[in-house]
Symmetry: C2
């Protein structure tokens, strides 16, 4: 696994996307089908689960049971066929914790017919959530994170996902607490950007006693989709955008017919959405050399990476003065 | 791919088994789940189709569309979860030829619910054959080959498969035809081991004018199964036996509970069935070193190989005098 060189941006731990597969539908020896593991503050979210995802998780040494939420974009095989195997392995390995599955509702019948055929009674509960939304919709929220689904434009109903950290409180040095003998209430107020009036007329200013919080970051996942204004709006200003780039633009007609994007279109989405960084994937099996796809996307938007299996991405944030 | 050293036996082309996967249910980095490609006279039969089989076929450079018959042993995930992906890829690659699928009948619902969800109308026909048999049963026959199914003893209904070449005619040198000015009828009779009485009293003896035919060979596939006398009878005297050996014999109780075999039991089956050669597979993920499994099987039967991905096997036949 290697980290990309993304220039003048911060690195933070605890918001990492690992590409497990970034090929398109027909298999090649170069790529696995779509799957990604999104780690936000050590919570692990699996996004799509193409055939062989459990082997990819093994290869990159991720523990299956750390995954409590799976998000499936749509029910084309290269995006979900690894699900039944992964769930079976979680069962064989003795999982008891419930698993939240965000997917088109037909997934339930697909899994249950297979549980019946194999006479499997799962050792844990699957909590099914309908992933199909007609507009950008909050699907999951916890203390530090929100996950939205938004519609993509594909041959069958397909959902993109957006992971957003919640705004954090301003940072305070431990020294400051001691120096000013701050109470708990005062610390909370100052971290929340509120000034504190003390008895005797002293004013503690939040701006002086705290510093800029770690900026909230966001990651958007778009696979598979044709170019669509609504998609651009859904991913606007996200820090990192994964966008499919199945074809070179010389095959734009083929892309349109199959509801896919060209690398140029992926670059155009990144540009219009004003994201910080773009990573492209879902490469057609016809391309043995992917450099032209990268070059084409870069002709529209400068900060582009090619996905590959094992790539670890961190959503970049621009430098800001305090 | 490497050929085993199997000592004093013939090699023939055109009856080859390639191991695509020989792991058990929980995935490892060492093995793919069960799948094998059986090539008999350049007809390709896929036996089991665990998750990732299409990637294994790509890796070992087999063409998907050469496969016209698929045999599934049972509906535990590690034996069939690659089927939907392989069929989807055959479709995406434009297949038109029908595909014969021998499997438990629930496979049809499993596939069709997924075709509906992905809005796939296959470009070719799947001909479904019920693989579940209560005794050894001829499932497929052509000019040169017979394929039998036979019941294994597992937690859910499971079928073993036996591939048998038909007896060939005796061999005749081209020279012989010219030398004796043989008619077509005479050639057929002599090759069929019949002597020919010519006008004038000459007798042409088959034994003198022809030689022993290439011996018919057989290959039996047993995965997954507990030790069972009926299985031994079904694979009796086959040239090559693939038999599961999930556990070492120290876990014989676990093997019995899960309807699997130990390596010692696999050796015992080979011995009692008087096969020429045994290859063991379906190794539990707990064994990082498989040599003890090999040693244990060899303690019961001398001619044993360990399966591994890419291994190419040819059913050995003992030397016979003409």
């Amino acid at each position: 696994m290697n980290r990309p060189d993304i220039g003048t941006v911060f690195f933070f731990v605890n918001f990492e996307i690992t590409i497990l597969g970034c090929g398109a539908a027909t298999p090649t020896n170069r790529h696995a089908p779509t799957a990604q593991l999104v780690n936000v503050h050590d919570k692990f979210f699996l996004v799509d689960c193409g055939e062989g995802t459990q082997m990819q998780l093994r290869k990159f040494r991720f523990k299956f049971q750390r995954i409590n939420h799976i998000f499936i974009s749509h029910l084309h095989g290269d995006h979900y066929l690894g699900l039944m195997g992964l769930i079976s392995s979680m069962h064989l390995l003795g999982r008891s914790k419930e698993l939240h599955l965000y997917a088109p509702p037909q997934i339930r019948e697909i899994l249950e017919v297979q549980f019946r055929a194999s006479e499997t009674r799962l050792s844990f509960e699957i909590v099914y959530h309908n992933s199909l939304v007609s507009e950008k919709t909050l699907l999951l929220e916890d203390r530090t994170l929100e996950v939205y689904g938004f519609p993509l434009k594909h041959r069958i109903p397909t959902t993109g996902y957006l992971f957003i950290e919640k705004e954090r409180k301003r940072k305070m040095e431990k020294d400051t607490i001691r120096r000013y003998a701050l109470s708990v209430e005062e610390i909370i107020a100052l971290k929340n950007n509120q000034d504190v009036n003390r008895e005797g007329g002293d004013v503690l200013r939040s701006k002086e006693l705290t510093s800029q919080p770690v900026p909230a970051r966001s990651y958007a996942f778009c696979s598979d989709t044709a170019l669509d204004q609504k998609v651009i709006e859904s991913v606007a200003a996200c820090n990192l955008l994964y966008h499919e780039a199945t074809f070179l633009h010389e095959l734009a007609t083929r892309a349109k017919e199959t509801f896919h994007s060209t690398a140029a279109q992926a670059g155009e989405v990144a540009k219009q959405a004003k994201v910080c960084q773009l990573v492209i994937g879902h490469f057609s099996s016809r391309y043995t050399d992917e450099k032209p796809l990268l070059d084409e996307a870069r002709s529209r938007f400068p900060n582009v990476l090619l996905a590959h299996e094992g790539l670890v991405l961190v959503p970049p944030v621009p430098h800001k003065a305090d």
